[in-house]
């Protein structure tokens, strides 16, 4: 009787354990089922490389959105990566533990600020500033990059900090004993050892930036065109889905799912790279400990 129950429980738990992978499969199947037939019908080349997005006329080219996502993401990394990594280095290497113990959780708490709030502030405070100082519509690549750059800061700082603090103290002591200054020890030894973890933090942040939707809709302007400058209004892949999902039907809706596939693939690639980088770090750590 008792043994029987144990067996049932084990089976049940095995079933439950597949819930995540089943969800993932379900998501993949449904997005692909809607999007792939469309892509085959329109042709991947037409879909990805045409600049005409006029769903009512049956023209579905997402090239401008791809470029927009790319620009905004790179812009966000240009802002978020240096600031975030610098913050992580400073908090780990140049600040007493007691300060770090307050500042790091604060920054991680800030990761919880909802993305709509970032978007709202960007729209109300940042966009008018850009409009009055640099011209253009304000809602632009630049505004999107800044907002996303700030949004990814907690991710970059938190994961980089973990990577940097995982570097064994003996490395630092060795460098200092050889007469290096604190900064020399950091950039010649510690950063080299923590490199793959830092890279992983930046790539994960890229994934977040590419996938972010609401904040971008609110600050990037959403015009469907290939941007010529950082002050142009653009629409990202995510924004395209979210803006038109409410009313799209038929081919148009399928086109949005196909956009979702592009997004899905890009993010899967980014995350795999980040995971590989993190694995390498863990492997390296193991070796250094023997």
């Amino acid at each position: 009787m008792k043994l029987n129950r144990e067996k049932v429980v084990e089976r049940l738990l095995l079933g439950v354990a597949f819930s995540a992978i089943a969800s993932l499969a379900l998501i993949a199947v449904f997005i692909l089922k809607e999007g792939v037939p469309f892509m085959l019908k329109v042709g991947p080349g037409n879909f990805l490389l045409s600049s005409d997005w006029e769903p009512q006329d049956g023209k579905f080219g997402i090239y401008p959105m791809i470029i927009a996502s790319l620009w905004i993401t790179l812009g966000a990394m240009f802002i978020g990566a240096p600031l975030g990594v610098a913050g992580a280095i400073f908090l780990n290497e140049f600040v007493p533990r007691s300060v770090m113990r307050i500042v790091k959780p604060t920054i991680e708490l800030l990761a919880g600020i909802p993305s709509v709030v970032f978007g709202g502030i960007g729209m109300v405070v940042l966009a008018p500033l850009i409009r009055s100082h640099f011209g253009g519509p304000g809602l632009s690549v630049l505004a999107g990059s800044i907002v996303l750059g700030v949004m990814v800061l907690p991710t970059v700082i938190s994961i980089s900090t973990d990577a940097i603090s995982a570097v064994p103290n003996t490395y630092r002591e060795g460098a200092l004993a050889l007469g290096a200054t604190r900064w020399q020890a950091v950039h010649m030894v510690v950063l080299k050892a923590a490199r793959s973890g830092i890279v992983a933090s930046i790539i994960l942040a890229m994934g977040r930036a590419v996938g972010e939707t609401m904040a971008v809709i609110m600050v990037a302007g959403n015009a469907v065109k290939v941007p010529h400058s950082a002050l142009d209004s653009v629409r990202t892949l995510t924004a395209n889905i979210a803006l038109e999902m409410g009313y799209a039907t038929g081919m148009h809706r399928q086109a949005l799912f196909a956009t979702g596939i592009v997004l899905f693939v890009v993010i899967m690639i980014l995350n795999s790279i980040a995971t590989a980088a993190i694995r390498r770090r863990v492997g390296g750590k193991g070796n250094s400990k023997k």
């Binding site: 995540a20 379900l26 600020i113 909802p114 709509v116 996938g211 995350n271």
Partner: protein, 279 residues
């Protein structure tokens, strides 16, 4: 010419400190700005009366209820699945190909952007299963979204329970399942709750996945099949449509306070958990 290390050290510290200060200043500015503009709007009446004229006037009561019910439903679905997965991974199996596949799936799920969850929830729960824009569709979608967080934190919490606890339980004749529910889970509880709270925080601040699954209805839901609007969605609509700046800030202030409180609870629990373990 080589710059003496003494100066590079000073320059580096100055730059790094500057970057850290900028980061903190920007993030704190956002919170300060929202609270400064929003808190004067917030009152008992604002929280507990219905919106009027699409949210241009009145309070936010239905969205407050939405922001409570939706995370609760999501947790009710995700917690048994997540903790069950964690128990299976830690207590019932060794590292095999199966566990690798499960971990890989969990990692992938964690990386999917919320708009994709929105798309999926819309086509599957809303359209195919016919739940419509509803509390149920939204809850199920959010449950899938936070599942990886709950699995990971629960797994860590369960692994942190000392092995000797289990051995004592087995030696007293307890079965594996009895050991899990009477010894392992109670000891891992604070860690598990941390994960749950982080999940709740994500649900409260989520917009993209909710707007396409739970809808936009501005009234109290009467059943799980009724559409609800959360505070995050409400804020988005108010700002995007330019309906009411005042009410938007008020909503944002409550939203931020709610998320910070939930996350702070999570961190506090985690620290207590770590402190107890290292004792």
């Amino acid at each position: 010419m080589r710059i003496p290390p003494k100066y590079t050290q000073k320059a580096a510290v100055a730059v790094l400190a500057g970057a850290t200060l900028v980061t903190l200043a920007v993030l704190l500015f956002i919170i300060g700005f929202v609270l400064d503009k929003g808190l004067p709007v917030v009152s008992f009446k604002f929280l507990f009366t219905n919106p009027e004229d699409m949210g241009r006037a009145g309070g936010i009561f239905p969205t407050l209820v939405g922001s409570v019910l939706l995370p609760l439903l999501a947790i009710a679905i995700a917690m048994p699945l997540g903790v069950g997965t964690a128990v299976y991974l830690t207590e019932y199996t060794r590292e095999t190909r199966v566990t690798k596949v499960i971990r890989f799936g969990t990692d992938c799920l964690a990386g999917i952007p919320s708009i994709i969850f929105g798309l999926f929830g819309f086509i599957f729960f809303v359209a195919m299963l016919g739940f419509g824009w509803s509390l149920l569709s939204g809850g199920l979608t959010l449950a899938i979204m936070i599942l990886p967080t709950i699995i990971r934190t629960s797994e860590e919490a369960i692994r942190a329970v000392p092995h000797s606890f289990r051995e004592v339980s087995f030696s007293l004749g307890a079965t594996r399942w009895e050991t899990v529910i009477k010894v392992v889970l109670p000891n891992a509880l604070p860690g598990i709750v941390t994960g749950v709270m982080l999940g709740v925080g994500r649900c409260i601040s989520e917009t993209a996945a909710v707007i396409f699954t739970a809808g936009l209805a501005l009234r109290l839901p009467q059943s799980p099949f009724d559409s609800v609007r959360t505070m995050a969605v409400h804020y988005y609509v108010l700002v995007r449509e330019g309906l009411s700046t005042e009410n938007a800030y008020g909503t944002a202030a409550i939203l931020i306070i709610a998320v910070l409180l939930v996350n702070m609870t999570a961190y506090w629990l985690m620290h207590r958990f770590i402190a107890r373990r290292t004792k």
